[in-house]
Amino acid sequence: MAIFIQQLCNGLALGLVYALVAVGYSLVFGILRLINFSHGAVYAFGAHAAFFFVGLNFGPVPAIIAALVITGLLGVVIDKTALAPLRKKRSVPIAALVTTLGISNIIQNLLVVKFGSQRKPFPDFFNLGAFTLGGIQFSSRQFVMFGVSLVLLLLLLLVVNKTKIGLAMRATAQNAKAASLMGINVNSIITLTFLMGGASAAIAGGMVGGYYQVVYPGMGFMIGLKAFAASVLGGIGSLPGALVGGLLVGVIESIAALYIGSNYRDSMAFIILIVVLIVRPAGLFGKNEVVKV
């Protein structure tokens, strides 16, 4: 039982990090109907930026903030240099998808060039020691990770649902053309979306780096796929969906690791995903899009 509760906490903490990465997929998909395959690499970039700034003796919090800013900017640069021209040309959706695959290649290999492909130790900066509660030992890292992610996700929800910018984002997601006729600058909304996606990926990267105390250029690959599965699971394009999807993936894979064996941990996300998609094709919280002829 003690192990079960430990794994559950572990799963919840990891799940919220997945949710934080999933938000990046969801926001972009909601607005552009594009699966952004470069997001995993952006996450790895965020973790490396944090690693770099920690190495410059920034201290943990300023380092993460610096990483957040620079990764958010990276998201904007990706959009402006590679994706915006494609939108302007109205090219086919597959072109944008392949572009993001290419960008992911570029970012990941630039990280290899700069930092090397090996695993590098990351400081254990938010470990406040372990504590025991009701005979069960908890690590404080999980709680810090859980708390920070939860606050950030709620903040994102608040921005999207309660502010004017959020309203503009939702309007663009619903119908970009109508939104632009209502005086919304669709291009700057898209830029903002990439900024938010990049920034949340950077925080997730920094925290996972601190949690496992290791960063490497390939780290974004698995978590990117899982977070992506999580966002689809919840209903891609929906923020609460990303949150629930992330938590589900995190908890189920931790518990599966306990009962089925840790080898199957990484495949759980996809198994749940396929089952959910077959039963509910638009995900748990997604709306079925009606095609009008």
Binding site: A82, T99, V112
Partner: protein
């Protein structure tokens, strides 16, 4: 007419000539006495040509982007290997079984298309590829897990082992690719191929015309999976060693990149894309770590400036009409756009 348009016309008017020259060159290639390294690259190109041709059936003609073709490739490779090593079957019979087995898994993956469209389908295929890899990694008793399978025997024909030194592997690759190519061409120019194209162009309209869209989409997946399985079954004995990490998502994304670089919906583009993206990292070894940065850059620039692919020009009508009808329609100005 601009320069690319002229080049395209030049090549397409003489395509039978170029076709013959390329086939003759490929058949005579071992006579030039290239090193084992270069012959190996040629074999790898032919494997990837098969994989991209397989993807082309699903993504290029039917318009359903699959990111799980690496999974079928893995299934083909593992099925053939395990049959050869554990059951002692010959290469040829395991090739057939592996292709059939991959086809069946393609049928199973194709079934979700009953309910899923567009991006969601892409996602499920991606998940499928990952699940296949996880199963290969964890089903230790059968697949030997992450350690992989070693010492896969070379295929043999009438008692002669086909290897690099007697160029048997090269000719086997060439024959398999040729068979797959002929098969693809026949499919594309048949009723089935026209149904595929109709689904790609407009699924609802295709349905209205009485095409059973679900049936044809599943069929496209099955054919694609079977061909990928053949490529896998050939790959395993060629390298002699396979492990789950030979079949990561990178393979699927590489196949897609090749198909798109060459030009989805054309067959010539598949060979070209495969050759270009296999040769590029080899010739650019001097760039070291930067070569995969440039690889990504090529993809991005291609999508920006020539999204239809380098060889994605349109030289043919989507369907064959009789000469008389074609002339009449041209006179009326009502010929459909070139494919």
């Amino acid at each position: 007419m601009d320069i690319t348009g002229r080049l395209e016309r030049f090549f397409s008017q003489r395509r039978i000539f170029f076709f013959a020259v390329v086939i003759a060159l490929l058949a005579a290639l071992p006579a030039f006495g290239f090193s084992r390294y270069i012959m190996r690259i040629c074999i790898v190109i032919s494997i990837y040509s098969m994989l991209t041709l397989a993807l082309n059936l699903v993504a290029g003609y039917t318009g359903q982007l699959s990111m799980g073709n690496g999974g079928f490739y893995a299934i083909g490779a593992y099925t053939a290997t395990l049959l050869m090593i554990n059951a002692g079957l010959s290469f040829w019979s395991s090739l057939v079984v592996a292709a059939a087995f991959a086809g069946i898994s393609g049928f199973l993956l194709g079934l979700p298309t009953l309910r899923l469209k567009g991006s969601y389908l892409t996602i499920v295929t991606l998940g499928f590829g990952e699940i296949v890899r996880m199963i290969l990694m964890n089903w230790d008793t059968v697949t030997n897990g992450t350690l992989g399978v070693r010492n896969i025997p070379l295929p043999s024909l009438f008692g002669v082992s086909l290897s690099f030194t007697n160029h048997g592997l090269y000719y086997l690759a060439l024959v398999l690719t040729a068979l797959v190519s002929v098969f693809c061409a026949l499919v594309i120019n048949s009723k089935v191929g026209r149904a595929f194209i109709a689904i790609r162009e407009d699924e609802i309209a295709a349905q209205m015309m009485g095409i059973k869209t679900v049936r044809y989409k599943v069929l496209a997946f099955v054919l694609s999976a079977t061909i990928s399985g053949i490529a896998g079954a050939f790959y395993a004995p060629m390298v002699g060693y396979i492990d789950p990490n030979s079949f990561t998502f990178d393979i699927s994304s590489q196949i897609i990149s090749m198909a798109i670089l060459g030009g989805l919906g054309t067959m010539r583009g598949m060979y070209f894309g495969a050759a270009a993206l296999i040769v590029f990292p080899e010739v650019s070894r001097f760039l070291m770590d930067y070569r995969f940065v440039i690889y990504g850059l090529i993809l991005v620039l291609m999508m920006r400036f020539r999204p239809q692919g380098l060889l994605g020009w349109r030289t043919r009508l989507p369907y064959r009409f009789g000469k008389v009808l074609e002339r009449q329609l041209a006179a009326e100005g009502s010929l459909p756009p070139l494919l």
